[in-house]
């Protein structure tokens, strides 16, 4: 499988703190890869460094043949990369509909608004409410939905199920499965590896700012021991 994203030797800093110590990873086209690890090991920083939100970084970030390291933040999406932060980032001064339409279409092949409303009927219902009047689960749907409209080829998803009720988590799992069917490449950060195991193809395990393990989903049950050690679950 051709790697769509290839990260080599990524180091990143928040101010004086050296968070990432040489991260290496690949994500193949159409794959759904999950990044596992305890709180604070650098999972979110990895996503933000790939996207370019964290600027103080060194290394190589090869996306579809181009090194993203030099690309300014507002041009990264146009290369086909979408980012959904942990906080979801729904804007309170915009309606649901305005939130949905905010990210500009960067390529053809994105879902149409009608398709999105079909996939997320409750967003259609609430389309004129202020964005933050939605429940946590609905906001997560909206955060994912608006990226789907843009036509990006790869999504960086930071802890989509955090703080959500099991029935919503189930729903998000279904959405991710649908995305996979449509050929979307996804790099997922998740603490809930049971959820991740239902959707992911491959796992990376992270500790202290670097990768300490990698395995396909088929080997998940064999690796439970290692997971318990590293994740402290």
């Amino acid at each position: 499988m051709k790697p769509l994203l290839k990260v080599s030797g990524l180091n990143a800093w928040y101010g004086e703190s050296h968070i990432l110590h040489g991260v290496d990873m690949t994500v193949g086209e159409g794959e759904m890869v999950t990044l596992l690890g305890r709180n604070g090991v650098g999972k979110t920083t990895t996503l933000r460094s790939i996207m370019g939100i964290v600027r103080n970084r060194k290394g190589a970030i090869d996306f579809s043949g181009e090194d993203l390291i030099k690309v300014p933040l507002h041009r990264v999406a146009h290369r086909g990369l979408g980012f959904i932060p942990e906080e979801r980032g729904i804007f309170s001064t915009l309606s649901v509909y305005e939130n949905l339409l905010l990210p500009p279409a960067v390529a053809k092949g994105g879902m149409t608004v009608d398709e999105i409303f079909e996939l997320f009927p409750n967003l259609h219902e609430r389309r004129n409410s202020p964005g933050t009047k939605l429940s946590g689960g609905e906001q997560q749907m909206l955060a994912i939905a608006r990226i789907l409209r843009t036509g990006v080829r790869m999504m960086l998803l930071d802890e989509p199920t955090e703080g959500l009720a099991p029935v919503i988590v189930q729903r998000i799992g279904d959405v991710l499965k649908t995305l996979k069917e449509r050929g979307m490449t996804v790099l997922l950060v998740e603490q809930n590896f049971r959820f991740a195991s239902k959707v992911a193809d491959r796992f990376y395990l992270m500790d202290h700012g670097r990768m300490v393990g990698e395995f396909p989903v088929s080997e998940l049950s064999d690796r439970m021991g290692m997971l318990h050690d590293v994740l402290g679950v």
């Binding site: 939100i53 933040l73 507002h74 990264v76 999406a77 305005e98 500009p104």
Partner: protein, 293 residues
């Protein structure tokens, strides 16, 4: 007679109050827009207002270009200058304590005002009312100079138009979103740095537009900016800068309050807005429309 004052005098002052209010509204609108996105208090706003008036005067005196083209050219020119300043200097200050933005724009205001004072002296230049808007109409209960009516109507249109752009258009949604979370908006592929430049330019242009409107009414003087900016600061403290509509409404309200004070208690008219500010601070510190800090 109304409240013991002749109706003519009362309505006359009310009119002046509405006119001043128009300028307060336009200027606090510009300040609020700039502050909302850039988090900078644009002390140079008054100077940009003065520049608008002066450019109109210069266009007329040196090139024979009249009021109507000036209404477009002057704000464009000042907006352009604003864009250059934001791009080259102001944007280096965004990561710093906001007081540096205030101090920088204060220095900018002094530089602009000082330059024009040096070139044209402190006294004002007259600017003739455009022919189409000259004269007045007798409404029966009062005499309304046409230009005064024009100022009020036009500024209302500009204010509401700006509000509509911000609240109802795509560009406006970009602005509102970027005000809340500029980094995320950038990650969507929206050129936020350009948006910042555009916003500052727009704010400066609004100030300049107010300046052109003001030219036929007040003398075009290098001092007109600093005289008005301090009052506008008081207006935004009262109204708060978190709400565009709030800034507009407060501007008109305080202008009218000032006008009415002139009728009943003239000695206090130039400080009444400050007094209102003090009272608002006592009972409702967040401001009338306090949606922000």
């Amino acid at each position: 007679m109304i409240f013991g004052i002749p109706l003519q005098a009362f309505l006359g002052q009310l009119l002046i109050g509405l006119i001043n209010g128009s300028f307060y509204a336009l200027l606090s609108l510009g300040l609020a827009i700039i502050f909302g996105l850039l988090r900078v208090i644009n002390f140079a706003h008054g100077a940009q207002y003065m520049l608008g008036a002066f450019f109109a005067w210069m266009l007329l005196s040196y090139f024979g270009i009249g009021y109507w083209p000036a209404l477009i050219v002057a704000p464009l020119a000042v907006g352009l200058v604003g864009a250059v300043i934001e791009r080259t200097m102001l944007r280096r200050l965004y990561t710093l304590d906001p007081l540096y933005g205030l101090l920088f724009t204060f220095g900018l205001a002094l530089t602009i005002e000082g330059t024009f004072r040096y070139l044209y002296g402190a006294s004002g230049q007259p600017y003739a009312t455009p022919a189409a808007l000259a004269g007045g109409t007798n409404l029966g209960f009062m005499f309304l100079p046409v230009y005064r009516g024009w100022v009020i109507a036009f500024s209302l249109v500009v204010c509401i138009g700006t509000w509509l752009v911000i609240e109802k258009t795509k560009l406006g949604s970009y602005l509102r979103a970027a005000t809340e979370n500029p980094i995320l908006v950038q990650s969507f592929g929206i050129n936020v740095p350009f948006l910042l430049t555009l916003t500052y330019a727009l704010g400066a242009a609004l100030a300049a537009l107010a300046g052109v409107l003001a030219a036929p009414i007040y003398q075009v003087s290098p001092l007109m900016g600093s005289n008005i900016i301090i009052v506008v600061f008081a207006v935004v403290v009262v109204g708060g800068m978190g709400s565009i509509m709030g800034a507009i409404i407060t501007g008109y309200l305080l202008g009218v309050a000032e006008g009415l004070t002139k009728v009943f208690y003239p000695e206090a008219s130039n400080i009444v807005i400050f007094v209102i500010m003090a009272i608002v601070l006592l009972i409702r510190p967040a401001g009338l429309f306090g949606r922000d800090v």
